[in-house]
Amino acid sequence: MIGTIVKKEIAANLLSYKFFIIILLITLLLFTSFFVLYKDYKGRQADYELVRAKPGEPIAVLAPNPLSIFAKGLDEAMTRSFEISPIGIDVRTGQKSGNAVFAFFPAPDFVYVVKVVLSLVALLFGFDQVSRERENGVLRLMLSNSVSRATVLAGKWLGNFLSLAVPFVLVTLIGFALMNLDPGLRFGSSGTGRFLLLVAIALIYIGLFLSLGIFVSALTRRSASTLVILLLIWTLLVFVLPNLGTLVARQIIDVPSVKALSEKRTQIWTSEILLQIGEQRAVNFRGDGAIRKRHLDAINAQLNALEADYRIKFDRLVRLAKTINRLSPAAGFVYAATELAGTGIDEESRLKSEVIRHKDAVLLEMDRGVKEHPAFVYRYRTVGRVLAEGGLFDLAWLTISLILFFALGFVAFVRYDVR
């Protein structure tokens, strides 16, 4: 029986204007997004070739992550070049900061398209499942047959999910396959696996919004009101909650601004250098290695303490912001997707601590007078670790919300008056 209902839903969708225009929209968006971010990646790759560290140079710079085509996340922050010198880490930014319009709008990558557009589209597939069919009278006809409401609802969910998921997965896979034609772009088996996982999370996310749509549809009598309520819930979940959550977290946890930190840093090292110069001049004009060394060590100790303090506070802020933001499935999706792609907040902070460790090692070598330094190697966390360190939680949270909304939808539908 369920097969018949699924078939009916798919057939109805295939014939509808809604299906036509929505599939057109997501095809267009996904391909544009793939193309534009692919080009962006190639540009950054070319930049990287120019600035990559020569053997022995004390520079830590990461190649752009190919998965950033799908989840750009913090890849731009992660691929900055970190040049290590006796007074710390000198950061050089890439190309993008030149064009100020980038700062206005978030990157239109796969994650963005799914987070914003596909969630909306899933709601549009779900909103008229109960209320519109009641208005049409179809629901009455259907339920007058010997078919349980559970079957009807499951069939509806599955039929609509398939009519959205199949074109979506198809378009995404075609895009991915086309990108693989470029010999300069290597995802490898790990990259492909991560990408497929990314698509799977996207499907859970879409399913969640479909369930939400059906749930609200079963709560309302008129499809026009269903839509209004859903659109407002959608704005809240996708735009308002995650963006407000970060601000709220900032109210609670006091973190100095980046600017304050950098001013403090300049003050520390310039004052130490001046003290050093003073001491050297007291001895003789030429200078003395031991004095210089002592002051450089003092600079490093102070800067390390300052930055460690900042990082502790900032980690606390990130954790709180994440907890608040997870109220919205959109935030959970973004966290899970970016961490999987290796462009998330945790990955970036891990990279930074690796850079600091590298810096300390290089500084020790510089003290010993070594001129050639080992290259900086960074290994992204494995999928297993990403999942263990929060990814699984987000995934489970999304799945539970999906099931919860479906169950609520079922309860509402069982009690629904179909007349």
């Binding site: 534009v36 064009n99 549009l124 209004v228 601000l247 310039t270």
Partner: protein, 475 residues
């Protein structure tokens, strides 16, 4: 007659479910957003003043011109307008090792966001069935059976719709502004209120655009369910996609050289190469000096030099000459290398400016981008302000250099052993960087471009809606 239709539209809407939901949402969201942003602003102000104090304390203890430049870098204060409009956030700061990645993941919520996303969506929700819905209900037939020109119906619908959305928004804004007014730490001036008024005016045009778009789509469709689909798809494109794509398209069409590469080249020119050149020139100069002043031949410590200079006027003169001429040599090296670097930088700036301009033009197809530029430029939180700030800091930089030059010269007059990089100076009379917001009139003038585009788009959509509506078959 027009008044009757507008009244009818408003009365119809006000009792509708969607109006109540939207109004309730605005009533909660706007004050909450303003409250949180205001607190954030107050926090920022506190931090800014403690940062300034930190710099002043530093200056009292350590002030050598050699190291001063990095410490007294100009930095923009938090502006009172950020209690409503965040604009381009300077929080991310990729220039520093400890950056702040949170706003990259989730852009901060502000008034512009509420207007640009929420109100545009609400405008479409209000207007998608303006024609198709009335056709389905049969009221359109009835209405047109009266001696009523169609353009009046259209105008009534669009203006009525705009008002039913704009007035609740204003009410929620009033609640938000109370939050600002009762907070003693937020000091809003006349210009801030003026800017806010203009932003709200822009918001009215923005809502009008989407009302007209909704009516246009509605009159092209027979059923309102099809009309809402088209409306939402177009909304996604105009609001969520085109602005985000524009900088990427611009970087494809008008590429700029890699900043990282240019910076590296510049720092090589002005650092390593400058030092090499300077050392070479200094060695030549020293040979010349030693020939003229044999006293300088043997190196001695500075303390010894000082006592010797006090006793021996010839030595004193020699030291003065050395300080002066070595300084001249380094100035020369700096000038030569600086000119080379300037060429590279100018080329980069030119190309980046061209790319930014193109991105801006492409994005202006989207009313969201037009409104965002209008609002951020007016409140000094946008691109215009970045340029303005750069202008101010360049000017300050000149003043600072002039000050450090004249101060060093004055000190050297008293004591020839003083030089630019090793002597502590009292800098209490140094010019401090003061940020001054651009005058509202100038901001208004510069923001007129985006507003004009928004107006043209609105009129265009209105015209299209008109032609569509007169051809609509009301049956």
């Amino acid at each position: 007659m027009l008044r009757t239709i507008i009244r009818k539209e408003i009365q119809n809407s006000v009792v509708s479910f969607r109006f109540i939901v939207v109004f309730a949402l605005l009533l909660i969201l706007v004050p909450v957003t303003v409250f949180i942003l205001t607190n954030d602003y107050v926090k920022k102000v506190e931090e800014f003043s403690s940062r300034r104090q930190g710099i002043e304390d530093y200056l009292k203890a350590y002030a050598h011109f050699n190291r001063l430049g990095g410490v007294v870098q100009p930095s923009p204060p938090p502006l009172p307008a950020t209690a409503l409009v965040r604009g381009i956030s300077s929080d991310i700061n990729l220039e520093d090792f400890e950056d702040d990645p949170l706003p990259v993941m989730f852009p901060l919520l502000d008034l512009v966001f509420v207007i640009a996303i929420l109100l545009s969506l609400a405008a479409l929700i209000f207007s998608y069935d303006a024609v198709s819905g009335e056709k389905e209900d049969g009221t359109l037939k009835l209405m047109l059976a009266n001696s009523l020109p169609r353009h009046q119906i259209l105008l009534g619908k669009i203006f009525g719709g705009t008002l039913t959305l704009f007035i609740p928004f204003l009410v929620s804004m009033v609640l938000g502004l109370i939050v600002i007014l009762v907070n003693p730490r937020v000091d809003w001036m006349g210009a801030n209120w003026g800017a806010l008024g203009l932003v709200l005016g822009g918001a009215a045009v923005y809502i009008f655009f989407f009302e007209a778009l909704g009516v246009l789509i509605s009159s092209r469709h027979h059923s309102s369910s099809a009309s809402i689909m088209t409306s939402l798809c177009l909304w996604v494109l105009l609001v969520l996609v085109i602005p985000n794509l524009s900088p990427y398209l611009a970087s494809l069409l008008s590429p700029a050289p890699s900043r990282i590469k240019v910076n590296r080249e510049v720092s090589r020119l002005t650092d390593v190469e400058r030092d090499n050149l300077g050392r070479q020139l200094r060695a030549e100069k020293m040979r010349d000096l030693v020939k003229r002043y044999p006293l300088l031949a043997s190196p001695i410590s500075e303390a010894e030099a000082k006592t010797k200079a006090e006793k021996d006027p010839a030595f004193r003169e020699a030291v003065a000459a050395r300080t002066r001429e070595i300084q001249a040599v380094w100035d020369e090296a700096n000038r030569i290398q600086g000119e080379k670097a300037e060429v590279l930088r100018a080329e980069l700036d030119r190309k980046e400016a061209a790319q930014t301009r193109l991105a801006r033009i492409v994005s202006m197809i989207s009313p969201l981008a037009d409104f965002t530029y209008w609002a951020t430029d007016l409140t000094s939180t946008g691109l215009r302000n970045i340029a303005h700030f750069k202008d101010l800091s360049d000017r300050w930089d000149l003043a600072y250099r002039e000050y450090s030059r004249s101060k060093t010269a004055a000190l050297q007059k008293k004591d020839p052993a003083v030089d630019w990089w090793n002597t502590a100076v009292d800098v209490s009379d140094m010019p401090r960087f003061e940020y001054k917001e651009e005058a509202l009139a100038a901001r208004f003038k510069s923001a007129l471009g985006p507003l004009a585009v928004l107006l043209v788009l609105s009129v265009g959509i209105f015209g299209a809606a008109y032609f569509s509506f007169i051809r609509t078959d009301p049956r």
